[in-house]
């Protein structure tokens, strides 16, 4: 499947943290042609296995997405909402959404009209509690179809821009699932020793629980986590962002130095431009959880820079994505049994 089609289709599917069934089924089907076994575990993580006789490696990118949940139905049928994961309330006014009630309901997020706001209110962003979801229905009809706790998915568009760049919902982190998929496909034509488990993990946006539980099941020797990182945008702190056009490799205490060194060597060998990203403490990715599974899993974190993370227009560079996949496949093919013995000496 073309990566662009995968991203477009995956972005449209609902997969809010904790309720990832639909997108998990889609991703499982996408991995099936390249894997010996694909299953979905009890929390909704997809585990796709390519058998090998070498070290057991878990490659992990999360499939869940941020969104909203209905928290209250007002007398007039307007819905109030709470976050599932870190949704920026600034993106919500005027956002088109899908409410997953008894039926799939299109809606739009409204706000108090500007002419009713005081001068001070106009200078402040809307608080999430000032906003509401409009379903274009009578209050009675809303109450019949919707209940508190129903999930609300943000607009799922996918837009192709200039220079192979594209923008859409859930590029965090389905773009990295796409990288795993490309790597799995490329490995069909490569010799590998390692025993590979590609995991599209659930519940990352609420705390890394999918990586934790899938990691327990897989019990890998090494972990390779893929997630998005921040590309430079106006107003961003210069030291905390990367260039958009190439992958980055995290470094710091949560990252295993030897596994990372080997990644840098492979990148050099196959001419992939790789940026360094220093993370002095936790990485806010599945790495933090996978790293502490069972007796510990040495991990590296490979990152795809995106602009506007946690909006519905997360923007990536397709060239950086394909380079990242090329690097991942080459790295997986390079893994040798001896790496296990070299880790701590």
């Amino acid at each position: 499947m073309r990566t662009e089609d995968f991203l477009r289709e995956a972005a449209a599917l609902p997969g809010l943290s904790g309720n990832e069934q639909a997108v998990a089924r889609y991703i499982a089907d996408a991995f099936r042609p390249f894997c010996d076994e694909v299953r979905i575990d009890s929390l909704n993580s997809v585990i796709a296995h390519i058998e090998g006789r070498g070290p057991k490696v878990m490659i992990c990118a999360h499939l869940d997405e941020i969104g909203l949940m209905v928290s209250r139905i007002e007398e007039d049928g307007a819905l109030r909402m709470r976050n599932v994961g870190g949704v920026d309330p600034r993106i919500l006014p005027g956002m088109r959404v899908t409410v997953h009630g008894k039926e799939t309901l299109p809606g739009v997020i409204g706000a108090k009209a500007p002419h009713l706001l005081t001068e001070a209110e106009r200078k402040k962003n809307y608080d999430r509690d000032d906003l509401f979801i409009d379903l274009g229905m009578s209050a009675d009809h809303v109450k019949e179809l919707v209940q508190v706790g129903d999930l609300v998915q943000l607009e799922g568009g996918f837009t192709k821009l200039l220079n192979g760049r594209c923008a859409g919902k859930t590029m965090d982190d389905r773009s990295c699932v796409a990288i795993m998929l490309r790597a799995a496909e490329a490995l069909q034509r490569m010799d590998t020793r390692a025993d590979l488990y590609f995991v599209a993990s659930c519940q990352e946006e609420v705390g890394g629980y999918g990586a934790m539980t899938a990691g327990y099941g897989v019990a890998p020797d090494f972990g390779i986590v893929l997630d998005v990182t921040h590309a430079r945008t106006p107003g961003a702190p210069a030291l905390e962002v990367c260039d958009l056009d190439s992958p980055a490799a995290a470094m710091g205490p949560y990252i295993h130095p030897l596994l990372r060194k080997k990644l840098v060597e492979v990148a050099k060998e196959i001419n992939v431009k790789l940026q360094d990203e220093v993370m002095p403490r936790d990485t806010s990715t599945d790495t933090d959880d996978l790293n502490a599974v069972r007796g510990g899993v040495p991990c590296i974190l490979l990152e795809l820079p995106v602009k506007y993370m946690h909006t519905s227009v997360e923007l990536l560079d397709m060239h950086a994505l394909t380079e990242c996949a090329r690097l991942l496949a080459a790295y997986l093919a390079a893994i040798e049994d001896s790496w296990r013995d070299e880790l701590w000496i």
């Binding site: 007039d76 088109r96 309901l105 809307y126 921040h230």
Partner: protein
């Protein structure tokens, strides 16, 4: 032409060409080539001769233009800097899709990721000085090469019917009026009627200045979309009009005090014809009726509006029955004027 088609044509103030062409083609079919003209403000004026003499000359007007954006410059990183055309609250444009220029180049309006925001960033409204359209350009030269200063940009929102007979789309203000004008033009009336599709309402009621002077009607019925404020537990006193409760008849707004005689006549016709209607309970908003009322020696004027939620955003919401009510009341007036 259906409402979906009308909303899908991009026409911010000053850039109404595409919509003007589409309306012109339709109007020529309905009124005859010789009765349709374009004036020097770009308005499309369509005349229908009445079947009886001694009736007042009525003008029914709607504006073609919508709110949108215009490109000013670009940053070194290739992000387009822009301003709104018409009044768009900057808070509704964050994380939205747009199309830029004649070639409809796709773009997005992003914002600093929540992870990187300071407490101050979270509170402060991102104004137009800090919002950018990202078309994927690599640098300033590429961005301005594709989208030079003065290029228009448009909300990219699909037309979506939803709920109990509602629709969510861009440009409902005032494509609902344009739609009803085209519907009304399909039949003849006892008196002379001029249907005016005007330009540049959103940037200061400009197009109708010319149209009013040229047409000089006895009566003007202005068809609009107006801000509904009726959902989200709004205080009753703050409701201006409610979507789903019929066409809103105005007695006054920020630009006009309408003649009581005409206002009462419209309410009586709505009652008699069992047409769902409401009195607009607020004097907010300005519109083209002001220019018709004051042109030359003056005219009777009133505004009939379709209540429109989240007006001037990329995702406004109307009730289809209210659009029909606007049509029916205007038609009743034209038959009885």
């Amino acid at each position: 032409m259906d409402l979906k088609t009308l909303c899908g044509i991009h026409a911010p103030s000053g850039d109404e060409k595409r919509l003007r062409r589409a309306i012109l083609e339709e109007a020529r079919k309905l009124c005859g080539e010789e009765n349709v003209r374009i004036d020097r403000m770009g308005n499309v004026l369509c005349h229908k001769k009445g079947t009886e003499v001694g009736r007042p000359h009525v003008c029914v007007s709607a504006h073609m233009d919508e709110v949108g954006f215009i490109i000013l410059s670009a940053t070194d990183d290739g992000l387009l800097q822009f301003r709104p055309i018409g009044s768009i609250d900057p808070r509704v444009v964050v994380s939205k899709r747009v199309l830029v220029g004649e070639d409809l180049l796709p773009g997005v309006i992003g914002a600093l990721a929540i992870h990187l925001q300071t407490r101050e960033d979270r509170e402060r409204v991102l104004g137009y000085d800090n919002l950018y359209i990202d078309i994927g350009a690599k640098d300033k030269d590429e961005a301005l090469g594709k989208c030079p200063p003065g290029t228009y940009a448009y909300f990219d929102t699909p037309y979506t019917p939803f709920g109990d007979g509602f629709v969510c789309a861009k440009a409902l203000d005032d494509r609902v009026g344009c739609y009803n004008l085209l519907q009304l033009m399909q039949s003849g009336y006892p008196g002379d009627v001029t249907f005016c599709f005007v330009t540049q309402e959103e940037v200061g009621l400009r197009g109708s200045i010319g149209a009013a002077f040229t047409v000089r009607p006895d009566v003007c019925i202005n068809l609009e979309g107006t801000a509904a404020n009726d959902l989200g537990d709004v205080e009753r006193r703050d409701e201006v009009c409610c979507a789903g409760q019929g066409v809103a008849v105005s007695f006054m707004d920020r630009s006009s005090v309408y003649q009581r005689k005409l206002f009462k006549k419209l309410l009586a016709l709505a009652d008699a014809g069992d047409i769902p209607h409401q009195v607009k309970r607020g004097v907010t908003g300005s519109n083209d009726a002001a220019n018709y009322q004051r042109a030359a020696g003056g005219a009777l004027a009133c505004t009939l509006s379709v209540p429109c939620r989240y007006i001037h955003s990329g995702a406004s919401v109307c009730c289809l029955d209210d659009i029909d009510a606007q049509y029916r009341l205007t038609r009743a007036f034209l038959l009885n004027a």
